[in-house]
Point group: none
Chain length 239, copies 2
């Protein structure tokens, strides 16, 4: 082969599949060629191809594989879940070769339309009535009220209720969650400003662009925040 690379970015090192295995073998003894090919078939990695059809792995591809198998080993995550974590991470880089959108941007904000009664959300979340009340007072959960005053909860509320339950179980109290709500409020404001001009003149196209922008930016800011928190907590643990 003669992949001429006259001019261009730094001469990136690439590897064949066998080399990749040898690189990873020390850390992950049960890696195998077929496993790597399997991961590709499942869409977790997309190595390039040489003109003759051989897989060509960049260092980044190798890191990706490494990420996948550590998640498997350390957190027992199913490949599906790892894939979705990866694809959030991906969106950062890939962008030049995406002429039109794959997934509809609005899907990000789609709601299931499920609605729950107070009893149902209590049962489904495992929260007590008092705690649910407290969460509502903190603005963490806020159901819509029907004309007659009975509250109706969405599945977002349920998700929040469950996650809140986990926090409360660990010793946090409802008032501690206020900070989370405030952070969410501030983020909403920030991102909202980004699309405010568009929403001033509402039309289908602006609507579509707005939801695309919001989907993208809210995901990105969530990634930043979570990564920051995690790395700070890691330092805390390491002392």
């Amino acid at each position: 082969m003669a992949e001429l690379r006259a001019v261009g970015p730094p001469p990136r090192r690439t590897h064949t599949i066998g080399e990749v295995i040898n690189l990873l073998r020390p850390e992950f003894p049960d890696i195998s060629v077929s496993k790597v090919r399997f991961l590709e078939s499942r869409g977790l990695i997309q190595p390039g191809r040489s003109s003759s059809g051989y897989r060509v792995f960049t260092d980044e591809d190798v890191q990706r594989i490494q990420y996948v198998i550590t998640e498997q080993r350390d957190h027992y995550l199913p490949l599906k879940v790892i894939k979705s974590k990866l694809s959030a991470w991906d969106k950062g880089k890939e962008s030049p070769v995406v002429p039109d959108s794959g997934p509809p941007p609005e899907a990000y904000f789609a709601s299931s339309g499920v609605s729950l009664s107070t009893r149902e959300i209590l049962r489904s979340s495992g929260l007590s009535e008092e705690l649910l009340d407290a969460l509502e007072r903190e603005g963490i959960i806020d159901p819509v009220e029907l004309p007659d005053g009975t509250p109706v909860y969405t599945d977002s509320d349920l998700q929040i209720a469950r996650a809140a339950h986990r926090l409360l179980n660990r010793g946090l109290e409802p008032r501690h969650l206020r900070g989370i709500r405030l952070a969410a409020d501030r983020q909403t404001d920030l991102l909202g400003q980004l699309v405010a001009p568009l929403l001033r003149h509402r039309n289908p196209d602006n609507q579509r662009r707005s939801s695309e922008i919001l989907a993208d930016t809210s995901e990105a800011s969530a990634i930043i925040q979570e990564t920051l928190v995690r790395s700070r907590l890691r330092k805390l643990l390491e002392h």
Copy 2:
């Protein structure tokens, strides 16, 4: 049957297997009689038996089941792992010898150990030098410095850099990201307090518990915040 319970602690309520299912069904719609029996066969629960051979579940047994399926749902843990967590919990304080070498203790905070140079992170993130600088000034990214002053970036930094790039592309400016950093700081503090007592007396067990608590709570609070933001943005779009 006449399980006489002459004197004793509170008159414990007990349940048959069918009652247990009905109790749990709302929160876990895919629970089933056979599943509970299966869990017993795998040694995760040990309900008592009536004189006629029926399983008899105490409230504690029910909680145990609840714990098991929550771990499955929220953390995708295999039953084997849940079992070992349970038996550690069982022994109360006693859990000295983790018999198997298998799962490394809570590696949620594991880092890949990859480190990048300034050139590499610029190339991999697509950021310009000025923007990277700006992000560092805002504390969004902060590399360790080697004795000679050259910065070293981790893969967390890369992830953040990429996500930040997405935000900047959408028209945000570095200073806008300060809010995200502050939110992350506050969350770190909050969660850090939760484990502060444990970390005061460092020993392997406290260390392990701390990382478990932090992994769980940081995930849960991220879920709450993201769900909140998303549902607020949805409302914004709907007008």
